[in-house]
Amino acid sequence: MEHKNFEVMTGNKACAWGVKLSRVQVASIYPVTPQTTIGEYIAEFIAKGELNCELVNAEGELSTQAIVKAASRVGARTFVCTSGPGQLYMHHPMHGTSSGRLPVVMATVHRGNKGMQPDHTDLMSQLWTGWIQWYCENNQEVLDSVIMAYRTAEDKRVRLPIAIGYDGYILSYTSEPVEIPDQAMVDEFLPPYEPIPNILPDKWAEAQTRRGAGMMGDFMSGGADPQAAWRIHHEAILNSKGVIKEVNEEFGKRFGRKYGNGLVEEYRTDDAEAVIVAMGTIASTARVAIDRMRSEGKPVGLVKLKTFVPFPTEDFQELGKRTRAIGMIDRNVCLGLGGAGFGELRRALYDLEERPRILGFYAGLAGAEVRVRDIEKMAEKTLKAARGEKVEPIIEWAKLGGGE
């Protein structure tokens, strides 16, 4: 059997390992809890001579994003990370990174907007910035996702930045055994990054003739149509689904692990009458709940939603045809509108001839604990809905932390 290198490490260290194995050339950091130690680990790798990377200790998150954007444009592989309020501060340059079609990879260590504890509102509040968004369940997935993200982001068919979200504290500061992939194998999987266009002075003339005159924004321009930049960007994100699936498959072949089809991972859904959908660490808890209910003969399944942008509409439509009810667990709320997952799911399934019922659950916001029993209750309710029973309300704030 081939030798595998395991280490018990926190999510933030796993993330830093992903950065190291991906041979990131420019990283920019600014401390914000619970993300801070990623930068510390990267700084340590550099200090020990294990990673050859320009590390910029910037003066704020707006700056960290603008720095990697500029560095990526010149042709360096770049990494940036943030959390909660830092993510919000970064909003403006995030638009420029994606509009410039720059393959920056960012880790968002989730921290909600109403305290230090995690929920997905930080990254969800960036839904309109034109980034691909992945949500991770455990530390191994964090490390692997960083590597897969560069491969995806730099693919000529994609050329978009990717944000990798993982729950603060639950993963960032919690240690788990993580397999560290072999550097040579990563190098084979992840070729060096080539910028398009190249803005070095000796390549500039060539870049100009290929792209037309002017600034990098022209990458997006569509001539006289003022809406073209939006349309091209939107379609590029939608079209990335195929590449995400491909990269996930190939990662699986080479490293022996993959994450569903790259967009969603289905668990015991084949003959499920009802399915719940979970993201991030809640997916782990949900898996246990599903197993328990299955052992009691209850036909329930789970979909772990990994790629939120682009939304796996087709996967859910296919699932919607063979299940009667879906319960979406949202660890976020767009105030006054609702859970992002719930809204997207309904949008995705509305056009089905026979659509399943869709229930919504708010859970785990501001770090509220989500236990197996809580998820069982959500799944029970979804199963009732699947069997035609009246359930109310359709969307609820899950009662959490036991109490019954």
């Binding site: 050339q25 920019s28 700056s63 603008a66 500029a70 403006h92």
Partner: protein
């Protein structure tokens, strides 16, 4: 310290886009023409919203108004990572992006001593958006957001002394320049170009549109700013060594400078006297620094 050059030593190569987007007599367009002659083509120019904006034929990158210091930082670090340290990184920004909204990011780049050149085309207001007050606007100047009326005398407070603030970051090179003194301007860029680390050059760039004077008077206005002590020309090395690069035996009265411009038309004799007092006082302090050759801080 920079070395004197003659007009004949100004490089012939033109790197600006002509005709550009500038008004007639634009001091900032002239600043770009002179500066990039000295910088040469092996340069990546960064731009942020500024007036005029699309000025040179060099490779151009840039983005957010508030992030000028970060754009040059990221570019420089990437060049370093790629082994292309031969390429110069220049942020050619307006006073809004340098003095106000982008101050934090440029301060960050300065304190990290990034190998970049920040050049401020200082037209003393937000000319891109129609002439609103900025941190570089002089006291009592009329702008569209500091109008003159029964309750207002123009800008109530003084200019931010940004060159000195950057000097106090301890960076290798800080200097001021004027488009009316092209050899001084070019010598300073040529000197800065040879230094590794953070360089800052603040070029007073008169704006006929915003300052309200005839476009054929740009050089006259720019020259008077220096000759009256309103815009002293100096350079500072390592936040310490100081030298005035233009030192007339006597300054001309500041009124000569102010009276050419519509933005100061409302000033009373008393107000002009007050400005004169401030200018003379500051000039005398600079003369002392020049004498000892050092900033004692």
């Amino acid at each position: 310290m920079s070395e004197r050059i003659t007009i004949k030593q100004i490089p012939l190569e033109e790197l600006v886009i002509t005709p550009g987007s500038a008004c007639q007599g634009c001091g900032a367009a002239l600043a770009a023409r002179l500066a990039f002659k000295a910088l040469g083509p092996n340069t990546i120019r960064h731009s942020i919203p500024a007036c005029p904006d699309n000025v040179t034929r060099t490779p151009t990158s840039g983005g957010e108004f508030e992030a000028g210091g970060d754009h040059v930082t990221g570019t420089w670090r990437a060049l370093k990572a790629l082994g292309r340290e031969d390429v110069q990184v220049v942020g050619f920004y307006g006073d809004g992006g340098v003095y106000d909204i982008g101050f934090q990011s440029i301060s960050g780049a300065a304190i990290r001593n990034e190998n970049v050149f920040i050049i401020c085309k200082n037209n003393e207001a937000y000319m891109n958006t129609g002439g609103q007050v900025s941190g570089a606007t002089p006291q009592l100047a009329m702008t569209t957001t500091t109008p003159v009326g029964p309750m207002s005398r123009g800008k109530p407070n003084s200019r931010k002394n940004t060159p000195m603030i950057f000097a106090m970051h301890g960076v290798p090179y800080v200097a001021t320049a004027s488009v009316a003194f092209p050899t001084d301007l070019i010598a300073k860029i040529q000197y800065g170009k040879g230094i590794k680390g953070f360089k800052f050059l603040d070029i007073l760039s008169p704006c006929p549109t915003g300052w309200r004077f005839e476009p054929n008077k740009t050089i006259e206005v720019a020259r008077l700013a220096v000759q009256t002590g309103f815009w002293p020309l100096y350079e500072i090395i390592d936040g310490r060594k100081f030298r005035l690069t233009y030192k007339p035996r006597e300054l001309k009265p500041v009124a000569e400078y102010l009276k050419l411009q519509g933005r100061f038309r409302h000033l009373t004799e008393e107000e002009i006297k007050e400005i004169q007092r401030d200018i003379t006082d500051y000039w005398e302090r600079l003369l002392k620094l020049d004498e000892i050759g050092e900033i004692l801080l």
